[in-house]
Symmetry: C2
Subunit: 255 residues, 2 copies
């Protein structure tokens, strides 16, 4: 008996990424090393960290001069004022702050700590280097999808993932910040339940569930495995974007 | 070359559940039909819906007499006043409400719509039947884990999952409401990153990631597949509970 199933597999051997690296080529080499070929409906979940690195989004805090506003926020939160300066450029607004913590709405629309700025695994030069998110992760995902299609003919889904905290739950979760090739938000409205009554809940954060599933493995590997292949799903059709998952601020009851 | 990988597999053939049904036995039969045996570190993700049904948590709204407070809230939100009456018994507090929507902090500690009360797939008698969450889903998970251990000798992890909305993101997600057999919240503090700097983020909502991963499949099957087997992880040791994932209200910046 064959049951519906999916496999989630890390792609080992992806080297430390430098600005300008060709991620599509590196992913294809990693897939080939496993004696696999990409096929339609495969999903590749790629950490935003390596996408950012390939796009040259590293920044040396020693080059940053904090504004008066950044100095003030740094004082209130105990954060590095140069980091706050960069954060203010990345964020649409500061949602909440308190000592040790700045929660922002990123220009890309999602709410997370520190405008998605990453201070770990950035490089060996010490603590002055940070990593910003890709400028447009949905566009990065589309480019990667197109490059893989050109090389293989496979129509794959791409998720660019980050790790976000949650306002009412403890523990970070893999979260989609870039999507290409499928519907990020799956609408179930109008589908009947098992008893032909309409389903009560209306949609699924499908791309976020993919990011969370991939994080099960990359979390275990302590970030050494930045690309994950998910195989076996029928991808919901659509030209989805990670920004489809942002709840419009004016409709949030918790803003 | 063998890469780290996991498989996520629905267990077909689980019948519609009635009060008093032996879920452990039904799960073991479903596993056997796939010619599999449970083994250590397997995770079974079980929807709260079938756990509730087996525990007799169906309720006929025709037996409910709404209080004055329930009538008032029903008027403000457009909800059924009998449903609101039940909801008030399930919730520790109402977090937010507006027409069409009541967000609660459940007595179990998590924040979701309608105190986790389910109005779909409850039965064939019509719209008066609802389903409450198990009284203590962590205890339900522990009992199921013990029953499976007695029958097979395997030390498995259990997640009892529900589908929750999110305050700042669109799309529901599989979420853990009951856990047994592993650390629900995985603490990474102090682990070095690739460059021997301390990791910036501190913990992973591991049980929620498992629930989200399982929902990738059950969402596709439109709820006909309430039990999912996840195999291939090394489970983080610990006597975790789903309530470990509740952010204490006094530490939330968005309460």
């Amino acid at each position: 008996m064959i049951a519906p199933h999916i496999t989630i597999q890390s792609l080992p051997g992806i080297p430390l990424i430098q600005a300008g690296d060709d991620l599509a080529a590196m992913i294809l080499e990693a897939v080939a090393r496993l004696n696999l070929r990409l096929q339609d409906d495969d999903v590749l979940v790629v950490t935003s960290k390596i996408v950012s690195k390939s796009e040259g989004r590293r920044l040396d805090l020693r080059t940053i001069t904090p504004s008066a506003r950044a100095e003030e926020i740094a004082q209130q939160t105990g954060k590095d004022s140069r980091l706050v300066e960069v954060l203010l450029g990345e964020a649409a607004e500061i949602s909440r702050m308190r000592p040790g913590s700045i929660i922002t709405r990123h220009k890309l629309g999602f709410i997370s700590a520190n405008a998605g700025i990453d201070h770990s695994n950035v490089g060996t030069e010490g603590d002055d280097w940070i990593l910003l998110l890709p400028v447009d992760p949905d566009a990065s995902a589309r480019r990667l999808r197109e490059a893989l299609f050109k090389a293989t003919g496979a129509q794959v889904g791409i998720v660019i993932s980050d790790t976000h905290g949650r306002p009412f739950r403890l523990g970070n979760m893999g979260t989609a910040v870039g999507v290409a090739g499928f519907a990020a938000l799956v609408d179930l409205r109008g589908q009947p339940d098992l008893f032909n009554r309409k389903l009560q809940y209306t949609d699924i954060g499908f791309a976020d569930e993919l990011a969370a599933a991939a994080d099960l493995l990359s979390g275990q590997a302590n970030e050494g495995l930045p690309v994950t292949l998910i195989r076996g799903l029928r991808l919901p059709p659509g030209d989805g974007k990670a920004t489809d998952l942002n709840r419009p601020p004016e409709t949030s009851m918790f803003r």
